[in-house]
């Protein structure tokens, strides 16, 4: 699949389409795939409503678009931003493991948040209206900044030079974000379809919601431990 997409990218003459394809290719890379699995689980946990899953995926993608747009700004306006590149690419892949573990542990309510500002935010998120997607937005915002080597090269090495040279300019990081989010949205919606088919056999829908949240938390923690283990092997 990646080979097909890279061939398409080679033949593309439209910057917006190239940026979108680059995003899709990036989302299928080995190091981004593992974090995408946890995101699919997070978005798909509201599987009772396919509409909510789809909207959640869109809001998550919007969060990513905001991050990519903001990071591209200094480069687009000609600022010397090598230090920013170095920081994001160096620490991104080291922090993703612990970040996933912390999010999973917080979802299981095992970890009390010590900082008053953050616990206020958590309370707000928990008591937010059912239609609120703030957690999806924040997840997209933060995960977009967790650059691994592969996604770092795709973004800083390929996308940003295109962004600077193209007349479409800062629309390209947004197209890139849509590309990175598409696979997540598709898989999350597929899970929602599958869950709804299975859920007809479950009478206690409320309880399955709680268990779904726990499963998602375990997925986060499991992938976080895997990522952390990979980093520690090299230290």
């Amino acid at each position: 699949m990646q080979q097909y997409l890279t061939n398409l990218l080679d033949q593309s003459a439209f910057p917006l389409w190239s940026a979108f394809l680059l995003g899709v290719i990036t989302s299928l890379g080995p190091c981004t795939l593992t974090t995408n699995i946890s995101v699919v689980a997070f978005i798909g946990k509201e599987a009772q409503s396919r509409g909510r899953v789809f909207l959640g995926g869109l809001v998550y993608t919007l969060g990513r678009a905001v991050s990519y747009f903001l990071v591209a700004l200094p480069f687009y306006f000609g600022a010397e931003a090598l230090n920013l590149t170095a920081f994001l690419t160096h620490y991104g892949e080291m922090l993703i493991g612990p970040l996933l573990i912390v999010v999973g542990v917080v979802m299981l309510d095992w970890l009390p948040i010590p900082f008053p500002a953050f616990s206020g935010l958590k309370t707000k998120l928990e008591h937010a209206s059912p239609s609120s997607f703030w957690s999806h937005f924040l997840l997209g915002l933060v995960f977009a900044l967790a650059f691994c080597s592969y996604s770092g090269v795709m973004y800083f090495g390929l996308l940003l030079p295109m962004t600077i040279q193209s007349s479409a300019g800062l629309l390209l990081p947004v197209a890139f974000a849509v590309g990175t989010g598409i696979s997540v949205i598709l898989f999350a919606v597929l899970i929602a379809f599958a869950f709804q088919a299975v859920n007809r056999w479950f009478v206690r829908i409320r309880q399955s919601e709680i268990w779904l949240r726990r499963v998602v938390a375990v997925v986060f923690i499991g992938i976080g431990i895997y990522q952390l283990g990979r980093v520690l092997v090299f230290l």
Binding site: Q3, T6, T85, M94, W110, Y150, V153, M154, I221, V233
Partner: protein, 141 residues
């Protein structure tokens, strides 16, 4: 919670026991006159794609440029960006993350984008590009 902490500590311990030996980094320096250098700037931590790039480059150089490697006309060096000296050396090429460069004293070819784009989905293309770039650089002599 206790079980979770136990699993986490076990993972950390197992990772420490299975620690991969640190790669032997080369000294950062420009190639000599008449010499072509293929530099792979990496860090201690290496991802699957990064490893694939390294393996493909090493394999291609060993198979297609064995004589040049033996005579020293061509060198392949892995440089550690976690070392300050290497990080400072890399800055002259605007390199701050993992990168693949072909260097001669007055020529720089940056193959990073193509290397990471093609290493896993289309390694043949990367091999071809590497050989093509090296032949182009050496034909300038």
């Amino acid at each position: 919670m206790k079980n979770f902490l136990a699993i986490l500590l076990l993972t950390v311990a197992l990772s420490a026991c299975q620690r991969k030996p640190a790669f032997v980094a080369s000294e950062p320096k420009m190639p000599e006159a008449g010499q072509t250098a293929v530099y792979y700037f990496r860090t201690n931590f290496i991802c699957e794609t990064c490893e694939a790039v390294e393996d493909i480059v090493q394999d291609e150089l060993d198979s297609k440029f064995a004589e040049e490697l033996k005579s020293g006309k061509l060198v392949f060096r892995q440089l550690n960006l976690n070392d300050k000296e290497t990080a400072d050396f890399a800055l002259q090429f605007d390199v701050v993350f993992k990168s693949l460069l072909i260097l001669k004293p007055d020529t720089v070819i940056n193959l990073t984008n193509e290397a990471f784009l093609y290493a896993l989905p289309n390694p043949g293309k990367l091999r071809h590009l590497l050989v093509e770039s090296l032949e182009a650089v050496n034909s300038e002599d």
